[in-house]
Symmetry: D2
Subunit: 419 residues, 4 copies
């Protein structure tokens, strides 16, 4: 987790921007929405608020700002997520039981920390190490901003009243271009992050890989294409599915992407953060598990790309993030046709790569060593960010990861094949 | 479910009193407190509000008040508890997922129904059948007032911040009198409800029973007496426990009544609705499962009374409810020494009687037939009411029932023995 | 557990008869059949053998026969069922994992104990206390003989090959007589066992009960009558079912008695210990849970009898066990029409009485105190014995008990009603 | 699944050898041992027998030998494992319920198939396709021979009587050589199977990979080294463990390799197929999950090798299988110090590679396409075979795979590191 920022004013600005973005995400919600935890993977929204705040308190203020006064000594127990090194914590699956502290109290906690951080910015000459920790805290909070929206959608979208999170602006939906493949030649390529700028520890360990010649889809799979798969019996043909995937979809009676509902007349609708609406068939299909993405690819006679293939083709065709990329700042709050290759934004793209350590991977020292490395088992890598990712948060080398059955994230499909 | 009330003004007054009591119980809480459902037995507080309101809408307004305008057609799906006859319902275990409708919206729903009920009282000449249904609805809501407090305590009392529900007044704790036994002679006694006044269907079917001579404790078991049991190894002597009870307490590591905590120095404290405080040793022990009550009785060389023994001795020694009974209106919010026999109020008393049908039991017609009868399996009867029971709600013949492992209710112990 | 037997030769004869009956039950089986434990309620057949043998070793030989040489010191750990007082034991749900000791070794263990018992009979002048313990052991083994056949049927009857346990003799199936009710007048009756003869501790505590006038069915419900219930939508009408029963049958997709199968053409067949065969419609319906018996009774506008009602009517109309009762010794291995009232044999009859302590109940001293009393929760009483009950084992006052969802036992239905 | 064998006599000989090896493995067992299924991952031993036999019936005899007479039409339902394409099957978790067919009947089934296969060898001029299928069937059976021994050990080794499977011969235990590292230079290497000889479809797709310079342990980790890890608090230092691994070992109270027991005096013993005995400290540590192997490697400051690193170093240092390799034919039935690098035999070696498709992977056509590909998720690759692997079964390119928490297999640890 190397820092790109070195100046005191720069980190202060970054901190303020990130923290006010969190506030902005909270504004449309009711207090009640902050409490529920429908499944263990979802955290109560007020927990996200408390946890991202606790991160700065625990890793910056307490160790490096001697005059800092603890807001509430019990909060560390409540808002620690999984850092065994920093002490005991309330059990994750029971976060939804905790109606206190109230949302108001957590915002007071947030204000207390923000005030202390401003004092820190003003009074202390920050060494590089502290700037780095603050930057990690900001990226950490940006990750939670995205999770926050997953969880908002999970909470409101499963409610039979289908309340909207907020108005979403109209978009001129357009067809994606013809199916087109981007080709990459075989060769030894470099993978991973190096140089100036921020990255997480799991991207480090610049290393070489050999790739055979391959082709990768120039755009994301659309709702229309996915419906074709469904109508062709995709969910009932066992030959398309991994064994665990087959069991999973049968056990859970999965027949369509998450948030899709078929009305009596047969029309498909889906829940979006703007409420319940007909499906836009040309938009990229979202809320797909790895299991489904893999089955869809097999049905197409293709496969999913490896994360290495993804990183290389992205570097070749889209090294600069295009202007009209659909990021959190676009405020579209759903995937759209952008007319670009969409390597960035729109939807996280499942790769066929299990999440493992790079050859020269080293965990960070101290409690932050628990940040990434300890999850390197039974999860799959996704790349590129989504419409809920802040623009300043994503990179070509960024590795996101989730268990293969999960669908509440903003995930989509891009295909690959060997020539 | 026979009615005692016949006059229009009387039922209107009763309705208003009950409904404002519900409001009174809500006042001390934060909005967040209304959302959580820590276990399936607990319902979100806002669900209780919606459900008791739905009851009047479904069983009174819709069938008997033609001009009634539905507040929201989806609410029946959300607020039906278990009445299969009245349609589909949201799954009980997932009530805590529903952040909407908001507390404010549910209070609007409540106001809408209260307004409609006032219209009904004003405009319709109520036949006996409707008065009866309204009275059932009031008693139903009083039951939920008590459950509401169980659930408030469960939600706040397991929070590591131990927030108080509201200030509880100081009480002069006094010793209970010497252990004293009330004797009843053998004979044929009548059991069940008959005559004027309200009762539930499960109390009807007046019938005779033969009781052998017995004695019953003149007061409830205290915290001190229960601590003696604990300190004598009560929780580790398998001979005292039913087999399922032994497995239950081992699996759940039960070592003390619910809400008791032993501090490092060995001092016992407990959570009350007034917050965390030292245990008052002379007060009746509360939050005891049937399993524990039964084991305690065996340890004492006694047994629990049957519900018939309880009903008969209560009729003999305490037919009138004493003035200083600890009911919901006392606002003590915890069990206390009252100096009476405490057959009423303070704590529900576990009996050794499984909850079954009386000989001449008939379920009510229609959906209300699902009210009581279908739960007559695997539950145990409790008698007498608690400090959270409204005075107008309880009777000598009243049969409450819970599964034997439950402890979040306000339950205590009274012993019995044969002479 | 009082003894009827006082003479040394009598108890020796009883012991030999019971033990050879066990051998007789084993003869038709393959070695493989002795190992499986399909559900926790079923024990491997070889475990039954070892356990009933262990009972005599533990409660008779070790304490009272000083020269007795232990067969294998580890067997107590393997063959103790639930006697916490006699030491640790292998976990019940994992009995099916234990392929050793082999069946042959367990028969050697049995022979070792039988030899030691013969020595005991020959060399020791048995005091009443020892005779009583041996008699308990014999009755204990008779209970396991019946469980043995439940478990044989569960193991073979769920196997898609439907192997027969052994040939069952042809029976002339005849219609039951017209539905007829036996009437009992109201009054105070005596319940429980007293006098000479063996009984278990749970039958003791002779006491009085008041019964209102009632009528009870003169015969058991037949397969035909039960089919009527099924064809009338009995399994889909929620009003007939207890709430837990409704959930149970939906969750488990229960649509017919256990071991019934509907073939493609719609014909019903069932598995019997003699193999797969068409259902005899005039025979009593078997393998019914309490939940189903209760729903059936409600459908008929009747109810199940209480155990007190059963005991009284049996005493009035069938105090002597009829000659042609269908017991284990009949070797029919299934329920048949006997032309008697069938209070004894054929099928255990569910009563509406939860299994609780009689008023003057006292557990036996020592480990045998764990025999009956600790199961007095969440179970229902059955009366009268079945076609798998040894004639010498049953009495009018005998109380059997099972959880209300169980169906692998040989259970049936008799109705009752108030006049 | 390409065949190396082309001649009719060669395949017949191979078939006979494999089938008699299966018989040889059964000989020491009691009939009872063939029935139990202690956990879902273990199959009853008689099921293995039936299933491997069914494989030849289903994939060879039925499609290619018109005169073949089915032994029992229900056996396909009983002995199909997971081939959805070949029809319905008995649920895996309930295999242990099936006491029939008996062991004797299954051996008759085996004899019936063997007879038919001999007819086939004699009467039909086998085309390459059929030979290939028979060869697959033989390799399939060899896989089950190894699973058979895992399951034998699981069944006997968890029995408190600790019965031996069979006598194991004494071995002169010797120290392993000094810790020594084998070095491999960076470069592009070829991975996967090509050329003559049998391999599974998951090894195909010869492809290139780039490896950075690395070193790999010249021998397997010993019991002594693993004890050092344990005594250094390896199981209690969360920093060494993957997050899911930490939860797994806490939930299951894992504190040592499977089959290790610490006696009261502190001495460690373990169960081997030859019975209960003291641990030989210089022998390779076995019955290690991936989770533990990974934690051990981290404790050593090393890591596990990737499957590519393993395949390359094995090709460089041990391309020929050494004479004194510990395979099934050695009949040692446990890991030993062989004095070789032990890439083959002794113990399967966990790699850090999740089991995924090779770049040019193609599933086989037909039902055999379900053999390997559908398991490519959430499992880890192991390499090299074990003491229970038949010599003719293993290859340098062979990819075995198991879920990371499993320990009943014969698995061990080899370390790797970057220079």
């Amino acid at each position: 987790m190397e820092s790109v920022i070195t100046s005191q004013s720069e980190i202060a600005t970054y901190y303020r921007n990130v923290r006010s973005q969190t506030q902005f995400l909270c504004d449309p919600l009711e207090i009640e929405d902050f409490v529920a935890q429908p499944i263990v993977d979802v955290s109560p929204l007020k927990w996200h608020l408390g946890h991202t705040t606790w991160f700065f308190e625990t890793f910056v203020l307490i160790p490096y700002f001697p005059s800092y006064q603890l807001f509430n000594e019990k909060y560390s127990y409540l808002f620690n997520s999984y850092y065994i090194s920093t002490g005991d914590r309330w059990v994750r699956a029971s976060r939804g039981q905790l109606t206190r502290p109230t949302v108001k109290e957590i915002f007071e906690y947030k204000a207390h920390i923000d005030k202390a951080m401003e004092d820190l910015f003003e009074k202390v000459n920050l060494i590089k190490e502290i700037i780095r920790l603050i930057e990690v805290g900001c990226h950490h909070e940006q990750q939670h901003q995205e999770l926050f929206l997953y969880d908002v959608k999970r909470i409101l979208g499963d409610n039979p009243l289908f309340p909207e999170y907020k108005k979403i602006s109209e978009i001129a939906y357009r067809e994606k271009g013809k199916g087109e493949w981007l080709n990459v030649e075989e060769g030894v390529y470099e993978i991973g992050f190096e140089g100036a700028g921020f990255c997480f520890d799991n991207e480090r360990g610049l290393h070489k890989t050999f790739l055979h010649e391959y082709a990768i889809g120039a755009s994301l799979i659309t709702n229309r294409e996915y419906l074709d798969f469904m109508e062709d019996g995709g969910y009932t043909n066992h030959l398309l599915w991994l064994s665990e995937a087959w069991d999973w979809q049968n056990r859970n009676e999965i027949k369509a992407p998450r948030y899709w509902h078929q009305e009596d007349g047969g029309e498909w609708k889906n829940y979006t953060l703007g409420g319940f609406e007909p499906i836009h068939w040309t938009a990229p299909v979202a809320h797909i598990s790895y299991y489904e993405a893999d089955a869809f690819a097999r049905w197409k006679g293709c496969r999913l790309p490896t994360e290495y293939e993804w990183e290389v083709v992205c570097g070749k065709f889209s090294d600069e993030v295009p202007q009209n990329t659909n990021f959190l700042e676009s405020n579209f709050l759903r995937p759209v046709q952008t007319g670009t290759y969409d390597f960035f934004g729109n939807l996280w793209e499942w790769t066929s790569s299990p999440y493992t350590a790079y050859p020269f991977f080293k965990t960070a020292d101290g409690a932050l060593g628990e940040y990434n490395g300890k999850f390197m088992i039974n999860q799959m890598v996704l790349r590129g960010g989504s419409f809920a990712t802040p623009r300043s948060h994503i990179r070509r080398t960024y590795r996101n990861f989730f268990h293969p059955h999960l669908r509440w994230l903003f995930s989509g499909i891009r295909l690959a094949k060997h020539k």
